[in-house]
Symmetry: C2
């Protein structure tokens, strides 16, 4: 395996406000995100040579293939490719664009992630045979609901590490409290209200031990990135952000059959290991400055701290309780509020995470800006858990080489 490290840079990004965007169609969301990205990069749409789009539910969100991007932006016959890898679809769009740039086939590539889930027939937890989400039905719910699957991971985690239920609930609550603290400062977040540990612990249960505040919501949103060859990046701006690693790992289901401990996600471990190798990172806990993890559920974030090697096995709760991942902690996680406050418009989430890392590394995150060293950030997408788990990881850096 070779490496993408320092071959490609991001020179512009855009991200819509996420939420119940009754005011906006999927097409409107694309325009909003791409317009910001173009202005940020100080280029025009006609400069874009090829595009990739992450979109999971084409038939309810926008339509199949690359067409929604082509028609919406009136792209003049340039290649537009739809990529789909469940919840990692946004990361895949950036990966497609990055490889094209690194291959030398285009100098300016656009990656867009988008999903319109509100007001178009998507109901959150679909019935098995609901026509508009038949794909989703088969995908998520063939054996177990998403909250149900992650709830089992939480109870297993409590059992394995001998955490009493009340303490376990408190640890999970603390993760969500931290994310809401950050989201409250972010005008683009869907949910901007601070919550307390007590509120989270006492919230209605969705699937025990996961309560309302342990689960991310469903929302609309889009995000976009403009990529160029790293050596040309400074022609566009003084503070481009460099791609250090882009990795995808997908489960064959095999590892779940034998001796799975139930408290880790093997494809995350594999993708992270490869990403660190690609980026030249030896000690992620010391070298990474901030994280955007796939917190579809609080337990997912907890386990991911360990899977990516930032917290030792079984020790993530200590890091959570000590504030290590708080906005003012040593390694802020979800400095934008995470899926917890943004919801999860599937194709958009991966690029939304990169947007926050990009702004943080440029020192432009305003009230949410990480203090101290802020040079290297990681994003993590997880989809299809457990049987079809697919992971997308990016590592972005402020400096080249």
């Amino acid at each position: 395996m070779g490496s993408i490290r320092d071959k490609v840079a991001i020179i512009g990004m855009g991200c819509t406000k996420f939420g119940e965007r009754w005011d906006a169609s999927g097409e409107d969301l694309i325009v909003e995100a791409v317009k910001e990205a173009l202005e940020d990069a100080n280029i025009e749409l006609k400069d874009v040579e090829a595009a990739w789009m992450g979109l999971f539910y084409p038939h309810i969100s926008l339509g199949p293939q690359g067409m929604p991007l082509s028609t919406t932006l009136k792209l003049p016959f340039i290649p537009v490719t739809r990529v789909e890898n469940a919840c990692a679809s946004g990361t895949e769009a950036v990966r497609g664009a990055a490889y094209a740039v690194a291959a030398g086939v285009c100098d300016v590539a656009l990656a867009v992630g988008v999903e319109k889930l509100k007001d178009i027939g998507f109901g959150g937890l679909p019935e098995r045979n609901m026509p508009a989400v038949e794909g989703a039905g088969r995908f998520f719910f063939s054996t177990v609901s998403a909250p149900g699957a992650f709830a089992q991971m939480a109870t297993r985690y409590f059992a394995k590490y001998e955490i009493p239920p009340d303490k376990g609930k408190e640890i999970l609550a603390r993760i969500s409290v931290k994310s809401h603290e950050a989201g409250a400062l972010n005008p683009k977040a869907h949910l901007r209200r601070r919550i307390t540990v007590e509120e989270a612990v006492k919230a209605p249960i969705v699937a025990w031990p996961l309560g309302l505040y342990d689960c991310c919501g469903v929302s609309d949103g889009a995000a976009a990135a403009i990529l160029v060859p790293a050596e040309k990046a400074k022609e566009y701006r003084d503070d481009p952000i460099y791609i250090k690693a882009l990795q995808v790992a997908i489960s064959s289901g095999e590892e779940l059959m034998y001796n799975w401990d139930g408290v880790h996600v093997e494809p995350t471990v594999r993708a992270a290991q490869r990403a660190y190798k690609e980026a030249g990172i030896e000690n992620p806990r010391k070298e990474l400055d901030l994280l955007e993890l796939h917190d579809c559920f609080s337990i997912t974030e907890l386990v991911t701290y360990e899977d990516i090697g930032v917290s030792p096995r079984g020790r993530a709760p200590e890091d959570v309780m000590s504030g290590f991942f708080d906005l003012k902690g040593e390694m802020p996680c979800q400095p934008d509020g995470g899926l917890k406050c943004f919801g999860h418009p599937i194709g958009a989430s991966g690029i939304r995470m990169m947007y926050e890392i990009y702004k943080q590394l440029q020192g432009k995150a305003g009230e949410r800006q990480k203090q101290g060293r802020c040079e290297l950030g990681l994003t993590h997408n997880l989809g299809g858990f457990p049987f079809r788990a697919t992971i997308g990881i990016s590592i972005l850096g402020a400096h080249k080489g």
Copy 2:
């Protein structure tokens, strides 16, 4: 725009028998195609570092994301990415793999195209709200059926070039007769029966002037390719095939609004022009040796001859009637039988076309082998016509540089 030319080579390919594969699931088809490709490349599955899969109907064919490939082949956590661009999805899988190899991020990449349409609820011409193909319903049939759309192109072509209906029917029939002649020699084809012009002309009408033999069928199938950096290709085999160009062009719908003549597909023109530039081809009629075009309908093939600049505007009928595109003609088109004899398992078709070009350029096409010079071949995929037309073109060559 840069170029992919001679950066990547194909060292192994596989293709299933296409047809009503009641004997095989989508997973079986994947195994069949990939097994042949691995054996052809003389490598093992564990040598594959990353994979791309072209698949259009995930919820009826196999399942979403890259999972079907990962689970079926038991791939050990390597990246697998689903790409989708309507009928050009197979070409997109090869493009994804090619860019990754050219970017230097992997040394052995797998591209697979697959679709299982028989025996799983896909009915050919779906009703508007048929749940399992709701995406297809919205895609193809929001304004007009596929045969209906192309039938209008045929009547417009007849009118513009003052071709009497009987003569027009004969020209279209001649295209299908030529493809059936080739398909009859191909053990992997679905329909292996020779037909006559009289049979084709008198066949039941689907949408006038298109009759039964002017339309391709629906079938199951899979095809696979293994890609490596061009400079390493001869380590694997003496006769690798080199990628000279890979282009995708997609319509924004704009060109249809104003002054569209109705007898050409603008994204094909754009993709072909870019592909020739990428491959360094100045005169396609003289330099190309054989073609695999997207003959979903006979008229599509006729118009594509002109759109790719092989026949002058309005002169494709002369080339058809003179036998220029016959298996023993100067530039065989559909030497494997085309969509006409293979049917169109959507994600597979683009790679199935490349499989034939690959075998022909290696001189291994048996009874169907082109005589004389056989060094440069073109494949062409068309999807989403008319409003969402997306084109994939590849040019493959027997020699490097």
